[in-house]
Symmetry: C2
Subunit: 184 residues, 2 copies
């Protein structure tokens, strides 16, 4: 079983600089990482649910990678969650598919880390803005990793920052994960 499955969504990936670089670098590690880039695979917006479920089954770590727009994921990440995480497969009577898996988030965020604080521009820590994902992971009994967030991504982000962000992301992606199985 390969370790990590990236579910990536960026509405304009071709013109993306950071998210595209992240996928290019991740693609250099095919023994450890599988990439499912939703807009590239499904340009008509129709997700192959069975194919996505088979990918999830074949990996023990799922990383949702996306730009943080309006403090939330892009529509196609949400579509993936809604359409793929079905009752009877992801959760429900006796289902334990995710109990040996973990869910991570890999996010590019505008603004500086210091903006994501009470009293500052974005009012909340990013962990608080990501609670819908944390509770989703808990609902399906997956372990929820501390999100990987690269802050301050905007049109002035330079090549060195992009290179550095990819390096940090690869560290995050490729480190072995000890998935703790929740107690009964």
């Amino acid at each position: 079983m390969k370790n990590t499955l990236i579910i990536a969504a960026h509405p304009t990936l071709a013109s993306s600089r950071v998210n595209r670089k992240w996928l290019e670098e991740a693609a250099k590690h095919p023994e450890q990482v599988t990439i499912s880039s939703l807009h590239e695979k499904y340009p008509d917006g129709v997700i192959d649910i069975a194919a996505e479920q088979a990918l999830v089954e074949a990996h023990d770590r799922i990383v949702l990678q996306f730009p943080f727009y309006w403090f939330n994921c892009p529509p196609m990440i949400k579509q993936w969650l809604d359409e793929v995480l079905l009752e009877g497969w992801a959760y429900g009577n006796g289902v334990d598919l995710f109990r040996s898996k973990s869910i991570g988030l890999a996010i590019t965020a505008g603004g500086r880390e210091t903006d994501y604080r009470p009293g500052e521009a974005f009012r909340y820590e990013i962990s608080a803005l990501l609670t819908p994902f944390e509770v989703t992971a808990a609902y399906i009994e997956a372990a929820y990793e501390t999100p990987f967030v690269y802050y301050g991504v905007n049109s002035r982000t330079n090549d060195e920052e992009i290179r550095r962000s990819a390096e940090l992301y690869m560290d995050y992606l490729l480190q072995p994960r000890a998935v703790s199985v929740p107690a009964e």
Copy 2:
């Protein structure tokens, strides 16, 4: 200027019971409420951005109505936010479009209200799970209303509960709103 614009999204509205009933009841008040039901208007998923912006400009209160799936909005609500709330129109240099408007949320949620608490099944109050919408409103300088949430909606919700939920929603929709303009 009409008061309230409902931006509604339900991926399967035809088989929805509560959200569909809410829109049917709201449609009985055309002098006060305009309905933009995204999946009905845009079955191909292509939003008419200029038309949506014109609707927003013509109302002083925007209510996003949706079922709460995976503790978040459906994809098409997020698509609307991403595509319609553009820099230079919704925010940015000198833009003050939303400073005289308010944003509300009208949500059907599974689970009981008591499940949305620390230590309970869904771990957080619903207000905490909705912080992305609160911060979005703040970013464009709109007033953010306390969300209208109808809890416990599931396949066992009966006709009397649906009728009652619609009655409460109409109270919420039709009450006059005093929009406070934030200080400079």
